[in-house]
């Protein structure tokens, strides 16, 4: 579904590559976890795949479409759940979703029904016509997710979709993502919650300093790394214990 070839990104004035000649294939229907410490290049990679950042070199295709030649078709094909809420605080949940849905070309009853359906599944029916500014972090996260899937994308990019949410909201979000995947959506997901990734992902890749240091199913990676019992231990073994603060 996603084919990445020697993809690189070096920011202006940066000494090193944020993503360094990265090769990766993500199969259709996968839930692919992209794990790595802060500054490893996860968000940069997702930003390039979702047309927000121009790669320095390399290329990628999604569902066979090259990003350079099929920019708009590609945008219709993907959904992006950004790390920040990216919603209009003074608009209601319904108004936000209606606007973002319209920008995907949805309209009329089809748009209305899709919004109401998703809002109900994610437990927000009571709050559909309340302003986002009054929502809790968990509620905003759920609306943030719905805004990205109204057009039923084939591929969904999630940049830390459960950061800062309560256990209940996290549970609803993860269950719904599982349902979307079961319906055929390929998911590329980044997170610092390694337990969550271990349970949720069919395959994971650990990325550090812009390159992939290991990839495989969570079980395989745990088995391959001597003396590790879970993904977190594999992660530390691969990326080290040094702090990765950066500015």
């Amino acid at each position: 579904m996603i084919q990445i070839n020697k993809l690189s990104k070096k920011y202006k004035d940066a000494e090193d590559y944020s993503v360094n000649h990265l090769d990766l294939t993500i199969e259709e229907g996968a839930v692919f976890g992209l794990l790595g410490p802060n500054g490893a290049g996860k968000t940069t990679l997702i930003s390039m795949l979702s047309s927000l950042l121009k790669p320095t070199s390399g290329s990628f295709t999604i569902d066979g479409l090259n990003y350079r030649e099929h920019k708009n078709e590609l945008k219709q094909l993907i959904g992006i759940v950004p790390q920040e809420y990216a919603l209009y605080p003074s608009l209601t949940a319904y108004e936000n979703l209606s606007y973002f849905g319209s920008m995907y070309g949805l309209q009329g009853n089809s748009l209305k029904n899709t919004i109401l359906e998703h809002i109900e599944i994610l437990g927000l029916s009571k709050f559909a016509h309340k302003k986002i500014v009054n929502f809790s972090g968990g509620m905003k996260r759920r609306i943030n997710l719905i805004a990205s899937i109204l057009h039923r994308p084939k591929v969904l990019f999630l940049d830390e979709p459960t950061v800062g949410v309560d256990v209940q909201s996290k549970n609803v979000i993860m269950e719904y993502l599982g349902q979307l995947n079961a319906e055929g959506t390929t998911i590329l997901y980044t997170s610092h919650h390694l337990n969550e990734a271990e349970q949720f992902c069919t395959r994971v890749a650990i990325i550090d300093l812009g390159t992939i240091v290991c990839k495989g199913t969570p079980k395989t990676l745990i088995a391959q790394q001597e003396g590790t019992k879970n993904l977190e231990e594999v992660f530390l073994a691969q990326t080290g214990k040094a702090l990765r603060d950066h500015a």
């Binding site: 390039m48 979702s50 047309s51 927000l52 950042l53 121009k54 990003y67 920019k71 708009n72 078709e73 945008k75 219709q76 993907i78 992006i80 950004p82 920040e84 809420y85 990216a86 919603l87 209009y88 605080p89 003074s90 608009l91 108004e95 209606s98 606007y99 973002f100 319209s102 920008m103 995907y104 070309g105 309209q107 302003k131 805004a147």
Partner: protein, 422 residues
């Protein structure tokens, strides 16, 4: 089209949900135009109705100084307060307690009479003499100085207008003294009128009206177009801030992942903010028509001009929106867009002739003013308000305003494409 409509609706909702912002957007321009017109109208009244207290030192104590005093007292401009010394006048004016002090020199009456008598006698003596035998007689009397003390804070234009008024008065007294001297020489009966001393040259102020209805411009007629335009252009501030906010809250980034053109995004903002500009304009007109007469200001006359006025406001609004969109596209933070936007509008207004008429500017600035969209808008508004022109005469300015909008839009789209090209 559906995406444009959705963008427009979203902009509309964002605007109406920000009640404070909306109030500022509509009330501040109204406050601005009311304040400016009141201030300018009161300045006009000051010169016409309200008397300015002035100080007078009469070191002459003669006929001429009495005449000056009488003239000043009878003048609608001044309220005269007599002082005994020049020193106290100097101090009171310098400290700003009075705007003007007049010091009449010693022996003004005596010397003026002597000078005039000398000249009159000289002229009369020369009647009948051969031209070659007329010797040039030079008076030994030195010219007299009437000193005018002005408060240093007094504005140049006001100072000039006072100086000109006093100059006129003194000239009149001098002329009357000359007539009187002639009369004394030519007749024994001082009550006999042998000269008509009334002014022969008069002024009539006419505003050409091209055969249509006569136009009588007043401070409202001048202020509403100028300050309305200023207010319309101030829309670039909320508009650019709105765009920067979208960048900062992540919604613009999200939108960039959607299959929607940047022009559509800008289109939604254009429709809504153009609507705001037109509502602002309508409110300004309503204030001019209904509120101004109620608070003692001249009424705004829009009879028969409304369609053309809204036609100009529409294109002026478009130009302002275009500028706001460009600023919002380029600015990264509110700290960039707000001060730049505010200052830039003031510069455009200054260049456009909102404060100082373009004809009164230095040549170089007059050339520069031609590139200010506010200048084009102001010309078009004055054409409608004060010159009663038709749509054809407005087309050059309208074309420039529209072109300005198109150019700013194109630059915004190209800039965004280059900045965010993938």
């Amino acid at each position: 089209m559906h995406k444009l409509w959705a963008s427009t609706y979203k902009e509309f909702l964002l605007l109406v949900r920000d009640f404070g912002g909306l109030a500022i957007l509509f009330l501040m321009p109204l406050l601005l135009v009311i304040t400016i017109t009141l201030v300018q109208n009161d300045t006009f009244k000051t010169l016409k109705e309200t008397k300015i207290p002035i100080l007078l030192v009469d070191n002459d104590q003669g006929e001429v100084s009495k005449n000056i005093q009488e003239n000043l007292k009878n003048s609608p401009l001044f309220e005269v307060q007599i002082q005994s010394s020049e020193g106290s006048v100097k101090e009171l004016v310098q400290t700003g307690k009075y705007q003007l002090g007049i010091v009449i020199p010693e022996n003004l009456s005596k010397d003026l009479n002597l000078k005039v008598a000398e000249n009159v006698e000289g002229i009369l003596e020369k009647f009948g003499e051969e031209e070659e035998s007329i010797p040039l007689v030079k008076s030994k009397l030195k010219p007299k100085e009437i000193k005018l003390y002005f408060d240093p804070a007094t504005q140049f234009a006001f100072r000039n207008s006072i100086k000109s008024g006093i100059d006129q008065m003194v000239s009149k007294i001098e002329t009357q003294t000359i007539y009187k001297a002639f009369q004394e020489e030519l007749t024994d009966d001082p009550s006999e009128d042998i000269f008509d001393t009334e002014p022969f040259l008069l002024f009539k102020e006419i505003v050409p009206s091209d055969g249509k209805k006569e136009i009588i411009p007043n401070s409202t007629q001048h202020n509403i177009p100028a300050w309305t335009l200023f207010a319309i252009f101030f829309i670039i501030l909320p508009l650019s801030i709105n765009m920067v906010k979208e960048k900062n809250q992540g919604t613009f980034v999200r939108l960039r992942t959607h299959p929607v053109a940047y022009a559509t995004f800008l289109g939604g903002k254009t429709v809504v903010f153009l609507g705001v500009a037109l509502v602002q304009f309508a409110l300004m007109l309503l204030v001019g028509i209904y509120l101004f007469p109620w608070i003692g200001l001249p009424k705004l006359d829009v009879s028969g001009k409304l369609p053309l006025l809204f036609f100009v406001a529409f294109f002026a609004g478009l130009a302002a929106v275009g500028l706001g969109l460009l600023l919002g596209t380029i600015a990264k933070t509110q700290e960039q867009s707000a001060p730049f936007g505010a200052t830039f509008v003031v510069i455009l207004a200054a260049l456009g002739g909102v404060w100082v008429p373009v004809f009164a500017m230095p040549k170089f600035m007059q050339v520069l003013s031609n590139i200010s969209p506010m200048n084009w808008g102001l010309k078009a508004f004055y054409d409608v308000f004060l010159r009663n022109v038709g749509i054809t005469e407005l087309l050059p300015e309208i074309a420039l305003l529209f072109l300005f909008f198109v150019v700013t839009m194109v630059i915004s789209v190209v800039y965004n494409e280059r900045k965010n090209a993938v």
